[in-house]
């Protein structure tokens, strides 16, 4: 047995190892980098300039934006001099935002004269960590540690007010791909609409998008719907077709009907039917009825209708307006009207094919038709709108200034114009971005073509590394789907294979909506692998060249194409570029794939070659090529191309995957016939799982829901949360004191160096029913093990005291941190500066900080709330500003060693609560080794849950620890082994392999041992399964949850006990509990709970008038009573009178709930009297 040398990553792991990890965060950072590098520039170019006309001077002022610049974060924002760099850890501690200043050149031009550029400060722009504007960008682990960061800081998030927030990835419809949809809501658009439409989400170069819908009408015609300023406008297709290019009816007719050929009949791949011609006629007739014959007439028609709603175009001609409409709202991803025309023809054909059921509708819930919204892109489009708003507002201000004659405003003076523009504070633009990231809410009029307004960002909690990592890997389907009653969106569809993890989704409310990307899944970006920005124009041109080279007929200028099945349309990023003989298609696809792999070619390695073959009523056929960013891609091995130097890893997307033949190691041939041999192969079977799901050992041996639970619980584990914990000021941080590395681990664990953040303990687990304290998923911990440090941990909690934002304004600036010298009672806790000593123990209700108002000399003590004794871990003060301290972070440590009621779990979805800390001597022990278990769980935990992997883990860990080596527990590894040819004589089963490990060390093959009762010393009648299992401590602890109350605070109005654990309230004894009591006939208990222990009240009731509100106590004249020593003074009888009856004759006392009295008072306020009729109990 050679001792396996543990590969220790050491404090500074290799750059190579980090590279793997970096990949997981890359999409966030790259999208932000692109925005800084080029995105902002492009976006500014698309921001519409504003023009202001001054009638008095008869001059026109044009204002536009140019040349954006984002600077790295600086410390002193007010002074222009180069102050020190602001580092992220400082932001976290000072609870400020990690932002850099943002400048844009505002250009002014009067009447086409000289352009005057004015650099304006647009505020503080949030900077993503590890992006190109971040100081940590190029930092190696050593530098990172010097900057008080984790040695493996990966960035990808923002720091806002000291909190780390990530932008949540959202699913969007795939850009520039016409999707045929069937939705009932389309019917409600207007009279005559059907439920079918073809929808395309067009994305401009600056990432803003416009969705265009082509509806089908019952009469056979179609309408093109698009949104202008929050309203949908539907135009007949005919008008648009004619308006786009100079064409005639005949040409449109042939174009539309080219997809139908009588010869094809209803054969395979035919999409057109006879009806197409009829419909084409209807479309053309519609236009004719409107008396629109030429392009000019159509443009006039559109312009006339749209001029009122187009801002700033009141004076333009109709045809200019129409041009703008066509340019800004219809197929915005295309610049050329011919392209738009061709695309519209294609969409009409696809729509008709959908109607005729020669092609199937696309599923908008399937990943095939989806892409993802990246942080940089979201910020860009939001920023664009904010800048447009800002310009518009500026224009209005200037116009107001012109009209306001009283003011001395010179339109032609730069100084005056600038002064007016400054009134419209430019810094609010950045503030809006910061607000978006802080709250996750979009404040927008147009909606930005997004389905939701809130929930765009979340806080990246550092509870443990699994959780933190998952924030960057999760993809949300969209908040609008969360409320949906149907479950179809939540379904796990086969299309998402390899891209989204089938295991790692929460159960419960967000199930299926919040998914996680698999560990190999990547998002395409604007950067190619060497890190240069891609030139999409060049890429597209070269793809076109390749396509033409292999026999594609271009659609330029005007060629009549036949349709499927003879030829297939070719779409490149939503542009119809030509057609391909369908026989050639497969060869072309293979050629393209070869070029994808070839390093020398200009074809990008993540080009999506979506070849939809001819079928009978399947997806509309065609060759759809995508080069765009923010698509999902994943690597697979291309086995159809012979390649020697390992250059066979191809990146594929979800759209093409559906039509590809990909082999999986143990998938058999998957029912694949010989005609379709596999062209690709999965690299690893574990590639279908997310990082967290990949950490479950032998998850292929578990029942699937258990793996899902484990993914949840891994993220709630109290683990080694941070290495730079000393430089952190998080609200709450859980930390495990003595973690261990698991003996049984998967390859993923080593790949991502999870040893840096271990999350559990290898506990010796015995599976037996020993004391009865292990019933129902409870577990018994060995008291001595716990005393030796097992699962010890603590919570770090930080209190920030900021004298700057004191509520009372009068107080501001007067308070300082100080302790009153005279006050002896607190001098033991606090230093003279009003702050506690580090290491100081603070008990409940003791002060941990004291401030004094310098003027009024009034002191204020900050008392420790809660029922726990805490220890001051760290005190950080802000020394920079002013002469006195303004801010202090005081971090407390709550020791949290395991107690009864704390929650633990194995890595197999087997959670349990500690029910006893059992003495070591009473634990069963092994006669041979003397081992006592650390933990006892009940055997009933296994049969119904079928977590076989946990049993395997126990056996494997036992064997591994006996042999002194780690055991690889990568799931599906046996399938890979088999595929590689049976190198071993007979492929052993896993259990055999593990069993023989135990045998070699003289242990039972099956992992059982003879144990002796710790109490009696006699042999337990059966052999006990015992071995080490990696146990996680979950963050749910009784100390945070227990709630007790005997007496305490009551509600002011009802005098019932208050609710809420924090305030010492009670637990509601609700209706259902009441019902249970009634059902049992436990009347006394019921009365006790609901009355005596609640709002028991003795009311004085006037039996004459029946009122409880008119009584009042008359104070009897004070009698001098001689006090009898030791006895309480005799209670003077109260004298009560009724105000209404003016007598105290009929007064009675009645016990009632106090709310009843309250009800009477409320009713009285509404002028309703409540009278009570009293009679003695006997008579009732």
């Amino acid at each position: 047995m050679e001792r396996q040398r543990r590969k220790r990553p050491g404090p500074f792991s290799d750059a190579e190892e980090l590279e793997e990890l970096k990949e997981l965060f890359k999409h966030h950072i790259e999208s932000f980098d692109y925005m800084i590098d080029e995105g902002l520039d492009l976006m500014l170019k698309r921001v519409k300039p504003v023009q202001i006309f001054d009638s008095s001077s008869n001059k026109t002022l044009r204002i536009w934006l140019d040349h954006p610049e984002v600077y790295p974060p600086q410390k002193d924002r007010s002074s222009k001099t180069s102050a020190g760099a602001l580092y992220p850890f400082e932001c976290r501690q000072a609870k400020i935002s990690y932002t850099g200043s943002f400048h844009i050149d505002v250009c002014f031009q009067w009447d086409g004269g000289v352009v005057v550029r004015e650099k304006l400060n647009f505020g503080e722009f949030p900077i993503m960590l590890k992006s190109k504007r971040c100081y940590l960008r190029e930092a190696d682990p050593r530098k990172l540690v010097a900057c008080k960061e984790e040695s493996r800081e990966m960035g990808g998030y923002f720091i806002l007010n000291g909190l780390e927030r990530v932008v949540r990835l959202l699913i969007l419809p795939k850009r520039n791909y016409p999707m045929s949809l069937v939705r009932n809501s389309f019917r409600d658009r207007r009279e005559g609409y059907t439920d079918k439409a073809v929808v395309i989400r067009c994305v401009r170069g600056d990432l803003s998008s416009v969705t265009v819908k082509l509806y089908y009408l019952h009469n056979g015609s179609a309408r093109l719907g698009f949104w202008v300023q929050g309203r949908e406008y539907m135009l007949p297709v005919g008008i648009i077709l004619k308006a786009l290019i100079d064409t005639n009816d005949r040409e449109i007719y042939t174009k539309l009907t080219c997809c139908y050929n009588e010869k094809n009949g209803e054969g395979k791949g035919a999409v057109g039917t006879q009806l197409v011609g009829e419909r084409a006629k209807i479309i053309l007739d519609e236009v004719q009825h409107l008396a629109l014959f030429t392009q000019e007439q159509c443009l006039q028609h559109i312009g006339e209708h749209f001029q009122p709603i187009m801002e700033g175009m009141e004076s333009e001609s109709y045809s200019t307006v129409a041009d703008v409409v066509l340019r800004n709202y219809i197929f915005v991803h295309l610049d050329d009207n011919n392209d738009k025309f061709n695309l519209l023809i294609f969409m009409v054909q696809k729509l008709f094919s959908l109607i005729d059921q020669t092609s199937a509708p696309d599923n908008s819930d399937s990943l095939q038709n989806q892409e993802v919204l990246l942080p940089g892109h979201l910020i860009t489009i939001y920023l664009k709108e904010k800048l447009e708003d800002w310009l518009r507002k500026g224009k209005k201000l200037i116009e107001d200034a012109i009209n306001n004659k009283s003011k001395n405003f010179d339109f032609c003076s730069m100084k005056d114009v600038k002064k007016v523009m400054e009134k419209n504070r430019p810094t609010q633009v950045s503030a809006a971005i910061e607000n978006l990231l802080k709250t996750g809410r979009l404040i927008t009029q147009t909606g930005l073509d997004l389905q939701q307004r809130a929930g765009f960002t979340v806080q990246a909690e550092r509870l443990n590394y699994h959780r933190f990592l998952s924030f960057f890997r999760c993809v949300h389907r969209g908040a609008s789907f969360a409320g949906l009653r149907t479950t179809s969106v939540r379904k796990l569809l086969p299309e998402s294979w390899g891209f989204l993890c089938p295991v790692h989704t929460p159960d419960g409310e967000p199930c299926g909506l919040l998914n996680h990307m698999t560990c190999t899944c990547r998002i395409t970006s604007y950067y190619n692998s060497p890190g240069n920005i891609r030139d999409f124009f060049k890429i597209r041109m070269s793809i076109l060249d390749v396509l033409v080279g292999v026999g594609m007929t271009t659609s330029w200028p005007k060629v009549d194409h036949a349709g499927p099945p003879q030829v297939l349309p070719v779409l490149l990023d939503g542009r119809v570029v030509g057609s391909l003989p369908s026989g050639e298609a497969e060869k072309v696809v293979a050629h393209l794939r070869r070029l994808k792999l070839a390093a020398a070619s200009v074809i990008p390695d993540d080009l999506e070659v979506g070849y939809v073959p001819l079928s009978l009523g399947g997806t509309y056929p065609g060759l759809y090529l995508f080069t765009s960013p923010s698509r999902f891609v994943r690597p697979v091995r291309n086995i159809s191309i012979p390649s020697a130097d390992g250059k066979d890893i191809e990146l594929i997307g979800p759209f093409e995957q559906v039509f590809m033949e990909i082999r999986c190691p143990d998938g058999g041939n998957g029912g694949r016939s010989n005609i379709f041999p596999a062209t690709h192969e999965e690299i690893s079977p574990t590639a279908m799982l997310s990082v967290v799901a990949n950490l479950t050992p032998w998850s292929d041996h578990n029942q699937s829901p258990r793996n899902m639970y484990q993914c949840q619980m891994a993220k709630q584990t109290m683990a080694f949360s941070l290495q730079a914990i000393n430089a952190r000021a998080d609200q709450k941080l859980y930390h495990l004191q003595t973690p261990q590395t698991p003996i049984v681990r998967t390859k993923t664990y080593t790949k991502y160096c999870m040893d840096e953040y271990p999350s559990g303990t290898n506990a010796i687990v015995a599976v037996l029913a020993y004391t009865g304290y292990d019933m129902e998923d409870a577990m018994i911990l060995n008291k001595s093990s716990v005393e030796r440090g097992m699962c010890h941990g603590q919570i770090y909690q930080t209190e920030t005291i900021d004298l700057g934002d004191d509520k009372s304004k009068s107080d501001r600036g007067q308070r300082i941190f100080k302790r009153e010298h005279s006050d002896r009672s607190i001098s033991s806790c606090l230093d003279s500066d009003g702050l506690p000593h580090v290491g100081q123990v603070i008990r409940p209700n003791e002060p941990y900080c004291s401030t004094i108002n310098q003027v009024t000399n009034s002191k204020r003590l900050y008392n420790h709330k809660g029922s726990e004794t805490v220890i001051v871990d760290y005190v950080a003060v802000d020394t920079k500003s002013k002469k006195h301290l303004q801010k202090a972070n005081i971090r407390f440590r709550h020791p949290r060693n395991p107690v009864i009621g704390d929650k633990f779990s194995s890595r197999h979805g087997q959670k349990g609560v500690c029910s006893q800390l059992w003495p070591d001597i009473d634990m069963p022990f092994s006669g041979v080794t003397g081992m006592r278990p650390d933990l006892i769980i009940n055997p009933h935990a296994f049969p119904s849950r079928m977590t076989i992997a946990m049993l395997l883990e126990s056996v494997a860990a036992k064997g591994g620890s006996l042999h002194g080596k780690f055991v690889d527990a990568t799931p599906f590894s046996d399938s890979v082994k088999e595929a590689k040819g049976k190198t071993e004589a007979e492929s052993e089963s896993l259990v055999d392999e593990l069993g023989s490990m135990l045998r070699a060390r003289g242990f039972n093959y099956h992992g059982v041992e003879v144990l002796y009762s710790g109490v009696y010393g006699t042999e337990l009648t059966c052999e006990i399964f015992i071995g080490p299992v990696y146990y996680q401590r979950l963050r749910h602890m009784v100390s945070d949850k227990y709630q007790v109350r005997a007496t305490g605070q009551v509600d002011q109005i009802t005098r019932q006990p208050i609710k809420g654990r924090k305030r010492g309230g009670g637990i509601r004894f609700g209706e259902m509990e009441r019902d249970a009591m009634l059902a049992h006939g436990a009347a006394y208990l019921l009365h006790d709970r609901l009355h005596t222990c609640s709002d028991y009240h003795i009311a004085d009731v006037c039996s004459l008038c029946g009122s409880i509100l008119t009584t009042s106590i008359v104070q009897p004249p004070k009698r001098v009573v001689r006090e009898i020593g030791g006895l309480p003074p005799a209670r003077a009888p109260k004298k009560v009178t009724c105000h209404a009856c003016q007598t105290s004759k009929g007064m009675e006392t009645v016990a009632m709930p106090y709310v009843f009295r309250y009800l009477a008072a409320e009713l009285a306020a509404m002028n309703i009297t409540m009278t009570i009729q009293l009679n003695s109990g006997a008579g009732a």
Partner: protein
């Protein structure tokens, strides 16, 4: 059956004795006795361990409780423990742990002045009493002493400092595992193995071989001369019934018969080093005797309290 005495006279035979390891046979008694001995060794033999830590300076990476906990777990030589007083019933100091009868004071001062990481180990603990010091493993284990520098408490980097005062007290493992002198105490019933020679003869050599190999531990072997299956090490048998199952599977039930002797036990004792293993056994017997005395006198508790002040409290405490 009056007057019949059930008294037995247990015998102890020592097999192996090292400072931190002992193996002995206990015969002529029953499981209750053996288990009582085991339990007492683990949980009730007193030792001395650090119980109170006063930290003056701690700028290390570990927090105060963590260091205190680590200090507590360091085994201290506790030969004196039996004669020491429990702090809680120490007359001399009212149990505040400041007197020589019930406590030992330790000091630790360490500061790293170099760029090299400084290991603060149990060797840096200075005791006020030379009889109570951190256990030194160097000589007994035979490691190179330069390599073995005691138990690491914390590592310091340049500028970090640890200064503390610790008070060690007497205690028992029942109260906290740090006071347990035993790393492992276990016993097993001595097995009695009978091979049915006649039936064994009917087996072929391969069958015998596979029978021998069926036991994960080496209990049986084949005599190279006579080709007979012989019991080489009955005590290696772990009562795992593997050979019985094998015999059954071979269609020869009753091939071997294995019984556990009800009255003889083989004890294995491993000590943490606080007390020598041999002393641990003796102390355990002593404690056990005291406990039994307390039971015998319990009818007269008041008197017992006077007589066995410490033990009475001990009984009540436990």
């Amino acid at each position: 059956m009056e007057g019949v005495s059930y008294q037995r006279f247990p015998k102890v035979k020592i097999r192996e004795l090292k400072d931190d390891y002992a193996k002995f046979e206990l015969r002529d008694t029953d499981a209750s006795m053996a288990n009582a001995l085991r339990r007492v060794m683990i949980a009730e033999v007193p030792t001395i361990a650090i119980d109170l830590v006063e930290i003056e300076v701690n700028s290390s990476v570990l927090n105060d409780e963590f260091i205190a906990h680590r200090l507590g777990l360091i085994p201290l030589t506790s030969e004196r423990a039996m004669s020491m007083r429990f702090s809680r019933d120490c007359d001399a100091c009212d149990g505040d742990g400041q007197c020589e009868f019930c406590s030992v004071e330790f000091h630790l001062r360490a500061k790293c002045m170099t760029d090299q990481t400084l290991d603060v180990t149990s060797k840096d603990l200075y005791s006020s009493d030379h009889t109570v010091v951190p256990v030194d493993f160097t000589d007994s284990a035979g490691y190179d002493s330069s390599e073995q520098r005691g138990i690491i408490i914390v590592k310091l980097r340049r500028g970090q400092e640890l200064r503390l005062r610790a008070i060690a007290r007497k205690g028992i493992g029942k109260d906290h595992a740090k006071w347990s002198p035993a790393a492992t105490v276990t016993f097993m019933y001595e097995p009695e193995i009978h091979i049915n020679e006649d039936m064994m003869e009917t087996l072929t050599l391969e069958e015998k071989q596979s029978f021998v190999e069926s036991s994960p531990t080496r209990v049986f072997d084949i005599d190279p001369n006579t080709q007979q299956v012989v019991v080489v090490d009955p005590e290696a048998y772990t009562y795992d019934d593997e050979v019985l199952k094998k015999a059954e599977a071979m269609g020869k039930p009753g091939l071997v018969e294995i019984y556990a002797k009800e009255d003889s036990f083989i004890f294995t004792v491993e000590s943490t080093g606080a007390i020598k293993a041999s002393q641990l056994v003796l102390n355990a017997i002593e404690v056990l005797k005291q406990k039994l005395d307390a039971v015998r006198l319990s009818e007269d508790t008041v008197e017992a309290d006077d007589q066995f002040g410490e033990l009475g409290a001990h009984m009540r405490g436990g």
